[in-house]
Structures are given as structure tokens and as C-alpha cells.
Amino acid sequence: MTLSPVNIILIGVFGLLGIGLYGLLTIRNLIKIVMVLQLLVKAAIIGLVLAGKVSGQIDLGQSTAATVLVADTMVAVVGLALAVQIRLRWGTLDITALSKLKG
């Protein structure tokens, strides 16, 4: 297996994915979780463009990546706004404590 650029980027995509999943499993701060989601999305974008290049359809790869970028930015923005509101209302950003809230 040669270390061609494409292979390296593939390792990069899966590596970022793995780090992001590890973060989702271990992090308890809500804002940090939003950041980790952003990280996963970056991995996805690189993966999409890479797939476009490898299969020869660069246009498709780019346009899908642009779509995903916009959508997930919206996710991050709304997630941050929610995190702010939660902090103001309940005073904590720990998702373990937030799971136990009633009402």
C-alpha cells in the first residue's frame, strides 16, 4: 500500500472521525460537544470531496460538500444558542446532570 496523497487523506478522514467519536463518548461539557460535532463535520466534508475526486466526479463532491457545510453550520449555531439558554436557565452545562432534570 503506497502512501499516495489519496490514501493519506483517507487515513486523515477516518482518524478525525475516530477522534470525534472518542470525544462524543467522553466529553460532558455541552459546548465542547458542539465543537466535537463540528470536527466530525469537517471530517465528513473532506471525505465527500475525496470521494468526488477518487471517482472522477469533482462537481458532485464539491456541491455536496458545500451543502453539508451550510447545514452543519446551522446545527452548530442553533446548538450554541441552546447551550447558552440552558446555562442561563439551569446553571449547568454538564449533560449528565441535565439528563436528570425533571420538568
Binding site: L24, L25, T26, I33, I95, T96, S99
Partner: protein, 589 residues
């Protein structure tokens, strides 16, 4: 010509259900009238199918597209053969009697719309079940009858016992329904269609292992639906239902669906090794144990429920030894006399207000009409000559002597004796002896009840005369079952000259005498006290039920701990499943 009639028997009751539900409970008289009207019309339509009995399949509604390949659901076909039309006639005609009876029984009760609608939906579904030629639609109608049964058992939904009984019936019969669905899917996957005549013709096309699987799956489904051992615990608890419901659903109709299933698929499964023996054992155990339980029960409807289970055991035994016509004939007689017994018991319970027999007693003087019809039914149940129960039970035992193992025949003979014993006990405790409460005020049955009871009592005397036409129709329209057609006279002579008949009659007489002379036989009852104790605790089957329920509840509360509600754990489960799915995908590609 037969298509509109078939559709009428199914959809007219459903239309009636919608109509009754739509007019709400503001107008109970209209509800009673509509219910009676719709069910009578359905009964007439079912009787009108009788001249058209044939083995020809009539496709009514086909979901196939332009291409020739069959669609996923198959077509809704109907086969108006003798067994199907018999069950349809029983369902609709006895259904109309039960509804006529309900006019008086449910007078002044609340929520009549729900009651009548459910009964009518049930009647339509039962007709569909009996007449359909497609396995998938058989399952569909089977499930509708289970739903209506559950809803009607829990009709008095303020009573926790009724609700518990309904849920128990639903769970046990639905577990059996899984067997039916599994078998149907295996058949469809291997033969390419859900068609029943097609399966009966090509049953050898399935590999022996698959055929055995389907045979035993169908046996489980019918044992659960017909309350055979080990699934018999739901029927006695289902007696919380209003009595006309018990008469229709749990005596004459729905429990016959299991027998119908075994009957219809008998030609395909008879060659499976061990199947017939299993059926004989199931029928035998059920008949014997249920008869013992009936002999010690104190609740009138429970005695009748156990008696139903026992008589169904007779029918299952008959199928197991190869006497399929005997089973069919006994099903017919049993439907008539059991409905008669239940409705008469309903009249008694409605009047006295309790179901416990030790609080009745001496009612014969005050309710002569009910006493007379009840005695007719009890004599038919016991198998006294001339009444229809005698002829059909003799036919069952005779085919058992010819086709089955000898030890099984001896047990069934003993069961016939016990049947006579508890029938006599039932009649005596309710109608004779000293009244438990001399100050009570009871009235005899009024018009609506009498109108329902008289035809049934008449039938108990006369339906055996239809044995000849029934066997003719069966031989004609059921080509795979190899039924030997004889006229009624030939049947009668054959039964009367067979030695087994007279053995049975003497055993029945012994059973009756044992009850009448019970004062002098106290030494026997004290020796059999252990048996009485076991029978009163339903031979441990209730304990098994409770154990299963407890195990399920405990494992459910253990599994509850995996639902932590924490995001991290949910995501860990997600990632874990992702790993598993990836492994599956990669290893299969």
C-alpha cells in the same frame, strides 16, 4: 352467484357494527333492533350459500398488477367448501341467537354500542376465516377474532378480573398466532403463494423438515386458540365476559377456529411422523384433565368452560386418529348444545345474580322453562341416546377405536364417564336440592331469551339428522380429505350396531349413577381427595402461568438498567452497533 353471498356474510355484520356505533348509545332500542336485524340477515346469507358448496375457488379481489407475477399479498380468494360453510352457518346463526338473547340479557346495560359492534365484527371475521382460501387472509381474520374476543372479555372494563382475563386470553392466543404466521410464511416462501388448495395439492413439495415445522407450528396455533393443553388456562378466566359472548365466542365459534385449522390442513400433515400422535396426546390430555377440573369447579360458567375445553379435546383426538368427519360432526353438535347450555346458564345467572353453584339450588321449581332446556343440553353433553351429542360422540370414539392407540381409547372412554358425572352434578346443584337462600326472588326467562333458546333446544334433538347431507357435502367439496359419504340412516345403523357404542353408554350410565349415589360413596371421594385438590388447582398450569409472568417481569426490570438516559452511554451503544454493522457488511461482501 356465490360471491355476493360470501361477501354478505363477512361485510354485512361489519356494516352493522359501523351503523350501531354511529347511532351511539342514546337509542338502545334501535341498537338492539339493528343488531338483531343485521345478524339475522347474515345468517340467512350463510344459509343461502348451502346449495353452492363446492371445492372451486372463487377469487373475489385480486391485488395483482399487470404483470403475471403474484403480488406480495396474494389475492383474496374464497373456497365455499363444506367445513367452511358449516362454520360460517354456525357463526352467523348461533350469533343471531346470541344477539337475540342479549336483547334481554343486556337490557339496561351501558355501552351497548361497543358490545354489539364488537360481536358483529367478530361474526364477520369468523365467516371470513372459515371461507377464505388464502393463508394470509386466514391469519388476518384470525387476528381480528382474537382482538374482538379480548375486547369482549374485558367488556366490563371496571372489573380488574375481567381485564386480567382479557389480557390473558389475548396473550396466549396471540402466541399461538405466531405459529400460524410462521407456518404461513414458510409455505408461501417455498411454494410461491398463500393459496390453501394449492398447498394441499403440493404439500409434498416442501422438504420433510419444513413440512414438520409447519405442521407443529399449526398445531401450536390451534392448541392455543382452542384452549388445549398446555394453553388451556385462558378459557376459564375468559368467563368474565357477558354470557352471550361466552356462548358465541368461547363455546361455539372462536375456539372452533383451532379445530378448523387442524381439520383443513390434515391431509397435508397426516404424513408427518409423530404429528398424529402429538395431536392424539394433546386431545387426550386436554379432554381428560379438563373433565376432571369440571367435576370439581364451583362456578357454573367455569364448569361449562372446562366442559368446552374437554369436548374440544374430543375433537382434536378425533382428528389425530384420522376421523376427520367425526370431528366435523362433533363440532356441529357441540356448537349447538354448548351454546344452548351457556345461554340457559346465562338466564340463570341473570336472574339469580351470582355464578356460584352452591348459592343456587332448587331453581327448578321457579324456572321450569330454563330447567327444561338446560337439562336437554346437559343430556346432549353427557351423550344420552337420541340427542345429537350421543351420535357425534359415539362416532368420535368409534373412529378412535379403529384408528388410534388402544390406551387412548380407554382414557377417552373414562372421560365420557366423567362428562356424564359433571353434567349431572351441574344440573343437580343448580336446579334441584335445597335453595341456598330461600328468600331470593327469581323469575323465569322472558320472550327474547326463549326465542333464542327454543331453536337451540330443537337443534339438540335434530341436528344429528344432518349427518348424511354433511358427509355428502364434505366428500364432494373436500377432495383431499377422503371422506366417506353415507346417508344418515347408514350412519345411525353403523353407530347402533357397533359394540363400542354400548360400552360407552354403559360408562355414561355408571357416571350418572356415581353422582346420584354420591352419598353412599363417600369412601371413594375421601380416597380421591388428592385428585380433587389437584383439579381445583388446575393441575399446576396456573402456577406455570404465574411463573412465566414473574420471569418476564423480572427480566424486564433487569433490562431497564440498560436505558440510562445518559448521552454518553447512548452514543457508546451507537458506536458499538456501528462496529457490528460494519463487520457484518464487510464480511458479507
Amino acid at each position: 352467484m356465490v360471491n355476493p353471498l360470501i361477501l354478505t356474510t363477512i361485510f354485512l355484520p361489519w356494516l352493522g357494527a359501523v351503523a350501531i356505533w354511529a347511532i351511539h348509545d342514546r337509542n338502545p332500542r334501535l341498537q338492539h333492533a339493528l343488531a338483531v336485524g343485521f345478524s339475522l340477515l347474515a345468517g340467512l346469507a350463510a344459509l343461502a350459500i348451502l346449495p353452492f358448496i363446492s371445492s372451486q375457488e372463487t377469487a373475489v379481489f385480486s391485488l395483482t398488477t399487470q404483470s403475471a407475477s403474484p403480488s406480495t399479498w396474494g389475492s383474496l380468494t374464497f373456497v365455499p367448501d363444506a367445513m367452511g360453510v358449516l362454520l360460517t352457518v354456525i357463526a352467523t346463526v348461533i350469533g343471531s341467537f346470541a344477539i337475540i338473547f342479549s336483547v334481554e340479557y343486556m337490557h339496561g346495560e351501558a355501552q351497548l354500542g361497543r358490545y354489539y359492534a364488537l360481536i358483529l365484527i367478530f361474526i364477520g371475521a369468523m365467516s371470513g376465516l372459515a371461507l377464505t382460501g388464502s393463508l394470509l387472509f386466514l391469519f388476518f381474520f384470525w387476528e381480528i377474532t382474537a382482538l374482538c374476543s379480548y375486547a369482549l372479555i374485558s367488556f366490563y372494563n371496571d372489573d380488574p378480573k375481567a381485564v386480567a382475563g382479557g389480557i390473558k386470553a389475548l396473550v396466549i392466543t396471540q402466541l399461538g398466532g405466531v405459529g400460524l404466521l410462521g407456518g404461513a410464511l414458510v409455505i408461501a416462501a417455498n411454494l410461491g403463494s398463500y393459496d390453501i388448495p394449492n398447498f394441499l395439492a403440493n404439500s409434498q413439495a416442501l422438504s420433510p423438515a419444513l413440512l414438520a415445522f409447519v405442521a407443529f407450528a399449526f398445531l401450536i396455533a390451534s392448541a392455543a386458540k382452542s384452549a388445549q393443553v398446555p394453553f388451556q388456562t385462558w378459557l376459564p378466566d375468559a368467563m368474565e365476559a357477558p354470557t352471550p359472548v361466552s356462548a358465541l365466542i368461547h363455546a361455539a365459534t372462536m375456539v372452533n377456529a383451532g379445530i378448523y385449522l387442524l381439520f383443513r390442513f390434515y391431509p397435508a400433515f397426516a404424513s408427518v411422523p409423530g404429528w398424529k400422535t402429538a395431536v392424539v396426546v394433546v386431545g387426550l390430555l386436554t379432554a381428560f384433565l379438563a373433565a376432571l377440573m369440571a367435576a370439581v369447579a364451583g362456578d357454573l360458567k367455569r364448569v361449562l368452560a372446562y366442559s368446552t375445553v374437554s369436548q374440544l379435546g374430543f375433537m382434536v383426538y378425533a382428528i389425530g386418529v384420522g376421523g376427520v368427519f367425526a370431528a366435523q360432526f362433533h363440532l356441529f353438535s357441540h356448537a349447538v348444545f354448548k351454546a344452548l347450555l351457556f345461554l340457559a346458564a346465562g338466564a340463570v345467572i341473570h336472574s339469580v345474580g351470582t355464578r356460584q353453584m352452591d348459592r343456587m339450588g332448587g331453581l327448578g321449581k321457579e324456572m321450569p322453562f330454563v330447567r327444561n332446556v338446560f337439562i336437554i343440553g346437559a343430556l346432549a353433553l353427557a351423550g344420552i341416546p337420541i340427542l345429537n351429542g350421543f351420535w357425534s360422540k359415539e362416532l368420535v370414539l368409534e373412529s378412535g377405536l379403529e384408528g388410534g392407540p388402544q390406551w387412548a381409547y380407554l382414557f377417552m372412554l373414562a372421560t365420557a364417564g366423567i362428562t356424564a358425572f359433571y353434567s349431572m352434578r351441574m344440573v343437580w346443584m343448580v336446579f334441584y336440592g335445597e335453595p341456598a337462600d330461600p328468600s331470593r326472588h327469581v323469575h323465569d326467562a322472558k320472550v327474547a331469551m326463549r326465542v333464542a333458546l327454543i331453536p337451540l333446544a330443537f337443534g339438540a334433538f335434530t341436528t344429528w339428522l344432518l349427518a348424511g347431507p354433511l358427509s355428502n357435502a364434505s366428500a364432494l367439496s373436500l377432495p383431499f380429505h377422503e371422506i366417506h359419504a353415507m346417508s344418515t340412516l347408514e350412519f345411525a345403523i353403523e353407530i347402533l350396531i357397533a359394540p363400542s357404542t354400548w360400552i360407552t353408554v354403559s360408562i355414561v350410565a355408571i357416571g350418572l349413577l356415581i353422582y346420584l349415589l354420591r352419598g353412599k360413596l363417600t369412601w371413594l371421594s375421601s380416597r380421591l381427595a388428592w385428585l380433587k385438590f389437584a383439579a381445583q388447582n388446575s393441575f399446576g398450569f396456573e402456577k406455570i402461568n404465574q411463573f412465566i409472568v414473574a420471569v418476564i417481569q423480572r427480566s424486564a426490570s433487569l433490562l431497564r438498567k440498560t436505558q440510562t438516559g445518559q448521552l454518553n452511554w447512548n452514543l457508546a451503544a451507537l458506536v458499538g452497533c456501528l462496529v457490528i454493522i460494519l463487520m457484518i457488511v464487510i464480511w458479507s461482501v
